[in-house]
Symmetry: none
Subunit: 249 residues, 2 copies
């Protein structure tokens, strides 16, 4: 289970925090680290010092340019968020996240990504809206900004507790389920949906009024299966065919 949990750091500025993250991950048995557009050299003397022996995780980390690439194969994407945003999103506590993991990772192709933002500004709204849910580590409201590696430590600790609890429990036959849509499939669907809504005149991207964000939130909440997404895309294709082509105008 733990090997199917990916820690994703976006736009990290301090190599020490990457080292501290690697140490926290390795301490808790996590191994999969992805760095999205780091704003520093990931491997420095600071990294190695804070990693304290776990720098192999940084050597093995995948560095990519976008969140999309980092989580394309993930079936559950959870963003660490300090604040409630303008458009409320499903919130989950670190403990509830841990308790959910055994079921989320019951099938071998499932992948969970825990996404952490920049030291100074966290995750952008666009990044948060690519997540199924947001996890908030409870903090002192007067001093709420956790160190990045400390935040990873807390969530990784909850992952390990959940894994240990599962070890202690009787092995359970997972309910046979349809495969869930991956992040990449979902993003293709959202792109298709937006194109179609523009084509039929329902959506004007110059005055978006949070339309796509609302449709994202609704859809992600349902955790679509691949087959369901295929149905929805089929509907979009049929709808598109009805749109008069420009040359006919």
């Amino acid at each position: 289970m733990l090997e199917h949990i990916r820690i994703v750091l976006i736009g990290t500025s301090h190599p020490g925090n990457i080292g501290g993250t690697a140490r926290a991950m390795h301490n808790m048995g996590l191994t999969d680290l992805a760095l999205v557009a780091p704003r520093c050299e990931p491997l420095t003397a600071d990294t190695v010092s804070r990693a304290s022996g776990a720098d192999a995780l940084v050597h093995g980390a995948r560095t990519v340019e976008t969140l999309e690439e980092a989580v394309a194969d993930c079936t559950l994407v959870v963003g660490a968020s300090a604040r409630s945003r303008t458009l409320p999103w499903p919130m989950i506590t670190p403990r509830a996240l841990g308790e959910r993991l055994p079921e989320e990772l019951a099938a071998p192709e499932r992948r969970v990504a825990l996404v952490f933002g920049r030291e100074d500004s966290g995750l952008t709204n666009a990044e948060l809206q690519r997540c199924h849910a947001h996890v908030h580590i409870p903090t002192n409201p007067d001093f709420s900004s956790l160190n990045l590696a400390a935040a990873v430590q807390v969530l990784a600790y909850e992952c390990r507790l959940a894994w240990l609890a599962r070890q202690e429990a009787e092995p359970e036959a997972p309910a046979p389920e349809q495969p869930l849509a991956s992040h990449e499939e979902l993003e293709h669907y959202f792109a298709h949906l937006e194109r179609t809504l523009i084509a039929i005149g329902f959506h004007d991207p110059t005055t978006p009024r949070q339309l796509m964000a609302r449709l994202r939130r609704f859809t992600l909440r349902a955790r679509p299966e691949r087959m369901e997404l295929n149905i929805l895309r089929g509907i979009l294709s049929y709808t598109e065919r009805l749109v008069p082509r420009r040359e006919d105008d």
Copy 2:
């Protein structure tokens, strides 16, 4: 409750860890820090940098020579221990420790100390034997040594969760939510959806292939809000307008 929990660091070597401890404590609402015979200057540029605004806790910390002095007024002393020692001691998990705190701190004169050892060698047997219990943070057996500030972070997090759980025992007004769609609104939506899917040629009610059932299941799983359903019905209306009218056939 949180103000009666003391973090005690023994023989710390790295000022950065004292700063990281202060930050972790302040993030979780802890305020009482004691340093026992630190092996470094506690307040350096490293301390302030890692404390990231929480260095007031280091300024306010009491520095003493012995564990005895640091915990003299405490009614429960718990030592953080990575290993099981030759003489088995009552062990407690971080979670169980948190759950015990409200009762332990029920009377105003009670004090709990959480004691952390040296970065390189932890607590001595003599120190461990001055504790009521030992707390072990579960770790990867192949890489079990947590960073000092990370260990403080995990236990401070459990303290805060226990405190929050006690707060929540008080009845609280539920967060105002968008109204969910009623059953009737959902049924109107499903009827509208089916009409539209037939009109665009996607759905043939004579060979339904469970299409509507799948779309129902998907939609109901998301527990749609009324506003979301209005958006979806708006999309259907725009789609319907594109369908050529029969008399045009």
